[in-house]
C-alpha cells in the first residue's frame, strides 16, 4: 500500500513546518526545504496521476478507518489532474520567485515560504479530499494564508484589501459550512460518496435544496463569480508578486473544481439539471459575468488590475460550461481549469518579471518594453494570445469545447458572450502591446532608433516564464489527448 496520495498533501505541510523552524534558526535553509517539499509533492502527484490513469480511482483511508467513519482521499482522474497542476505550478513559481521574494518581503523570507507552503497544502488538500468537512477546514487554511499574503503586499492598500477579503471570505466559507450542516442534518454523514448515496431518496426535500443553494453560493463567493467578485481585484493586485503569481492561477480554479466536484459527486447531475433545472439561470449569470469582467477590465489603468478582471471574466467561462448540463460544456469547463491556470500563470510570471525590473506596472510605465525586456514580452505575448484564444494556444481549444457545448444546448447568448469576450481581450492586450511597441515614439523612419539597452529579469525567472509560455502551445496541441485520456473517461 503506497502512500503517495497522502504524501502529495503532507510533504508541503511538513516542509512548511521545517521552514518555519528554519526561519528562527537558520533563515537560509528554509528556501531549499520548501523547494524539496514541493518537489516531492510534484513527484507523488505525477505517480498518482499515472496510477489513476492505469487502474482507476484511488481510495486512500486516512488513519486507516473505512469511510464514512474516517476521512478518505478519493482521487479520480479529475482531481489527479488538478493535483498535478497545482503542485507543479506551485513548484515552478517557487523556483522563479527566489529573487523577487527577497526583494519584496524585507528579511521575512523564511516566514513567507512557510505561509506559501501552507497555502499550497491547503489547495492540494481541498483537491484531494473526499470529505465535506475536511474540505471546509482546508479552504480555511488557503483563505487564512491568502489573507496574510495579501496584507504583506502593498504597504498602504494591502491591509485594507485583505480585511475586505477576510469579511467576504468568511461569509463564503460560513455559507458553505451551513450547507454542509444542512446536508449532515439530512443524511447524518460527511463523506461525499456516502452523502450522495443517502441523498438518492430525498431528491424533493427542501433541506437538500437549501443545502445545495448554500454550498453553491459559498463556493461562488470564494471563486469570485460576478457579482460576488468585489474582493478579488484588489486582493490579487495588491499582494506580493511572488504570491499573486500562484494565487491568481490556482485559487479560483480550485474553487471551480470544488463546484464541479460537488455538482458531480455529491448532488448529481440529474438532481441539478432534472429536478431543479437551474441551468438556464446560471448560464445567464455566467454570460453576464463574462461580459462584465471584460468591460471592467477595459476600464483599468494598471496591468495587474486588468489581469485580475480578466480572471473574473474567465470564471464566467468555467461556471457557464459546467452548468451547461451537457458533456461538451463540462469537458470545456474542466479543460479550461487546466488551460486557464496555465495562461494566467504565464501572464503573471511575465508581469512578475516586469515588476522586478520596473516595479510599477501602470500601463504608462510599460513604454518601450519590447526593446527593454524582449524575452519577457515574448512570454507575455504568447500568454495573451492564449487568453484571446488564438490557435494553436490552449485557450482556443477549451473555448472550442465551451462554444460547442453552448451550441448543443442552444445557449447562443453564452456562445456570443465568449466570442465578444475574446474580442475584448484582443483589444485589451493589443492596447498594451501598442504601448510597449510604439512608445516612446520614433520620428518618421527608424534611423533614430538606437539599439535599446536590454535589461532583463534574472535568468531563473526568464526560463520559467519561457517554459510555461511554450507549454501553452504544447498543451493546446495535445488537448485532444488530454480530453480523451483524462476528461472523457472521468465524465463517463
Amino acid at each position: 500500500m503506497d502512500n503517495y496520495p497522502a504524501l502529495i498533501v503532507v510533504t508541503p505541510l511538513l516542509a512548511a513546518l521545517f521552514a518555519g523552524l528554519a526561519a528562527w534558526i537558520e533563515e537560509r535553509l528554509s528556501y531549499p526545504i520548501a523547494l524539496f517539499g514541493l518537489a516531492v509533492s510534484v513527484f507523488s502527484a505525477f505517480k498518482v496521476l499515472m496510477q489513476v490513469i492505469d487502474s482507476g480511482t484511488i481510495h486512500y483511508r486516512l488513519a486507516g478507518w473505512a469511510p464514512p467513519m474516517g476521512i478518505e482521499y478519493r482521487i479520480d482522474l479529475l482531481n489527479a489532474m488538478v493535483l498535478l497542476l497545482i503542485s507543479s505550478i506551485a513548484f515552478l513559481n517557487l523556483v522563479a520567485s527566489f529573487k523577487s521574494v527577497d526583494q519584496e518581503t524585507n528579511d521575512r523570507a523564511g516566514s513567507f515560504f512557510t505561509i506559501y507552503l501552507l497555502f499550497v497544502t491547503g489547495l492540494l488538500g481541498v483537491t484531494a479530499t473526499g470529505d465535506l468537512f475536511n474540505l471546509y477546514v482546508l479552504i480555511e487554511i488557503t483563505s487564512l494564508t491568502s489573507y496574510a499574503m495579501v496584507a504583506l503586499g502593498d504597504r498602504d492598500r494591502g491591509p485594507i484589501a485583505s480585511l475586505n477579503y477576510v469579511f467576504i471570505g468568511v461569509i463564503g466559507a460560513s455559507f458553505y459550512l451551513l450547507g454542509v450542516g444542512y446536508l449532515y442534518m439530512q443524511t447524518g454523514s460527511l463523506n461525499m460518496v456516502d452523502v450522495a448515496n443517502i441523498l438518492q431518496g430525498h431528491q424533493g426535500s427542501s433541506t437538500v435544496l437549501v443545502a445545495f443553494i448554500l454550498c453553491m453560493i459559498g463556493i461562488w463567493i470564494k471563486m469570485a463569480l460576478f457579482p460576488m467578485h468585489v474582493w478579488l481585484p484588489n486582493a490579487y493586485s495588491y499582494s506580493p508578486v511572488a504570491f499573486s503569481r500562484v494565487v491568481a492561477p490556482l485559487m479560483t480554479k480550485v474553487m471551480v473544481y470544488v463546484m464541479i466536484r460537488l455538482m458531480i459527486t455529491v448532488f448529481g447531475f440529474d438532481y441539478i439539471f432534472v429536478t431543479l433545472h437551474l441551468s438556464e439561470a446560471v448560464v445567464w449569470l455566467s454570460t453576464i459575468a463574462i461580459l462584465a469582467g471584460g468591460v471592467m477590465a477595459l476600464a483599468q489603468k494598471n496591468l495587474k488590475k486588468m489581469l485580475t478582471y480578466i480572471i473574473v471574466c474567465e470564471i464566467g467561462y468555467m461556471v457557464g460550461g459546467a452548468w451547461m448540463g451537457n458533456q461538451l460544456g463540462m469537458t470545456g469547463a474542466i479543460l479550461h481549469i487546466l488551460n486557464d491556470a496555465l495562461m494566467t500563470f504565464a501572464l503573471f510570471l511575465a508581469v512578475g518579471n516586469m515588476v522586478y525590473k520596473i516595479n510599477k506596472v501602470d500601463l504608462i510605465d510599460l513604454k518601450g518594453l519590447f526593446g527593454k525586456m524582449p524575452w519577457t514580452m515574448a512570454g507575455f505575448v504568447l500568454a495573451a494570445f492564449s487568453i484571446i484564444g488564438v490557435p494553436p494556444t490552449c485557450g482556443f481549444f477549451s473555448k472550442w469545447y465551451l462554444i460547442l457545448g453552448a451550441l448543443e444546448k442552444g445557449a447562443y447568448h453564452f456562445a456570443v458572450a465568449l466570442i465578444i469576450s475574446s474580442l475584448i481581450c484582443a483589444v485589451l492586450f493589443f492596447k498594451v502591446f501598442e504601448i510597449c511597441f510604439f512608445e516612446p515614439m520614433s520620428h518618421g523612419h527608424g534611423e533614430s532608433h538606437g539599439p535599446v539597452a536590454i535589461e532583463e529579469a534574472p535568468v531563473s525567472m526568464l526560463i520559467i516564464s519561457g517554459l510555461v509560455s511554450l507549454s501553452l502551445i504544447i498543451v493546446g496541441l495535445y488537448s485532444g489527448t488530454i480530453v480523451n485520456t483524462v476528461i472523457l473517461p472521468f465524465l463517463k
Binding site: N3, A6, G20, L62, G64, I71, F133, A148, G188
Partner: protein, 274 residues
C-alpha cells in the same frame, strides 16, 4: 448599503428557516443526524480506540486528519500575526522611574545606553502603580492554572478536555502574567524565539506522529501501527497515539495564543502594552 444589507440578511434568514422546515424536532433521538455515524461512534469507538471520551476519540483518531489541519490553521494564524505586525526597530524613547522618589527619567534617543542602579525601574510611557495584591494573587494563581492546563491535556481521553482546551488555558496563564505585571516581564520570561519554535514544534509533533505511521507500514495517521515503537499494552496504542498528538496540539496552541496576544497588544513592538 444598510437597506441592501437588510434585504440580503432577510433573504438569507428566510432561506435558512425554509430549510429547517423539514428538520426533525429538536433533540429527536431518531433524526438522521444522530443515527448513521453517531451510533457507530458511540457503540464502537470505545472498543476500537480504548478511549471513553468519544469526542476525543473522534477528534484525534477517526477525524484526526481534520484536527491536524486545524492545528496547522492555528500555527498559520500565529505566523500571520507575527508577519503582519512584528517590527524589529527599537522604540524611540525610554522611561526610567526612580523608585524611592518617583522621579521619571525620559531618555529621548534610543541609541544612548545608560546604566541605572537598582532603584531605577524601566517603565512604560504611563506609570501604573504596581498593585501588590494583584501581583501576589496572580503569582500564586498562575502555577495552578498551568498545572490544571497540563491535567486537561493529559486527561483528555477520559474527561472533557484535550489539547486545545489545555493549550488555551496554558496560554491564558501567560497572558495573565502579562496583564498582572507588564508585557516586558512576559517577553523577558518567555523569549519570542522560544514561542515561535514551540508553535512549529507542536504541529510538528502531530504531523510527525502521523507521518511515522507510514514507514511503519500503515496509512497516514494510523496509530495502530505504532505498537512496535512504544512499550506497553498494544490495545491502548491508539489512546497513546492520541495523547501524543494532543500534547503537540497543546504546545502549539499555547505558543500561538501568546504570540497573537503579544503582537496585537504591543502593535508588534514587544515593549509595552496591556
Amino acid at each position: 448599503m444598510k437597506l441592501l444589507g437588510f434585504i440580503v440578511v432577510c433573504l438569507t434568514g428566510a432561506l435558512l428557516l425554509y430549510g429547517t422546515g423539514e428538520f426533525p424536532d429538536w433533540g429527536d433521538p431518531h433524526s438522521p443526524a444522530s443515527l448513521h455515524l453517531s451510533n457507530y461512534y458511540i457503540e464502537k469507538a470505545v472498543e476500537e480506540t480504548q478511549v471513553p471520551n468519544l469526542v476525543t476519540a473522534v477528534l484525534a483518531d477517526y477525524r484526526g486528519f481534520d484536527t491536524m489541519f486545524e492545528t496547522a490553521v492555528i500555527f498559520c494564524a500565529g505566523l500571520a500575526c507575527f508577519l503582519l505586525l512584528r517590527d524589529f526597530q527599537e522604540k524611540k524613547e525610554r522611561f526610567y522611574r526612580h523608585t524611592p522618589t518617583g522621579i521619571i527619567l525620559h531618555v529621548k534617543d534610543a541609541k544612548k545606553t545608560l546604566t541605572v542602579g537598582r532603584e531605577f525601574e524601566h517603565m512604560d510611557k504611563e506609570w501604573v502603580p504596581s498593585d501588590l495584591i494583584i501581583k501576589t494573587v496572580c503569582r500564586i494563581l498562575i502555577p495552578f492554572i498551568q498545572i490544571f492546563a497540563l491535567y486537561v491535556v493529559a486527561h483528555g481521553d477520559f474527561s472533557p478536555g484535550g489539547g486545545f482546551q489545555g493549550g488555551v488555558i496554558f496560554g491564558s496563564s501567560l497572558i495573565l502574567l502579562a496583564i498582572s505585571y507588564d508585557l516586558k516581564t512576559l517577553v523577558r520570561r518567555v523569549k519570542e524565539k522560544v514561542l515561535g519554535i514551540f508553535a512549529a514544534v507542536g504541529v510538528l509533533i502531530y504531523v510527525g506522529i502521523a507521518a511515522i505511521c507510514m514507514p511503519m507500514g500503515g496509512n497516514f495517521l494510523d496509530y495502530s501501527k505504532l505498537a512496535p515503537l512504544i512499550p506497553g499494552d498494544p490495545h491502548h496504542i491508539r489512546a497513546l497515539g492520541m495523547l501524543g498528538v494532543e500534547i503537540g496540539v497543546g504546545i502549539a496552541v499555547m505558543a500561538v495564543m501568546a504570540i497573537i496576544y503579544i503582537n496585537i497588544v504591543s502593535e508588534g513592538r514587544h515593549d509595552e502594552g496591556l
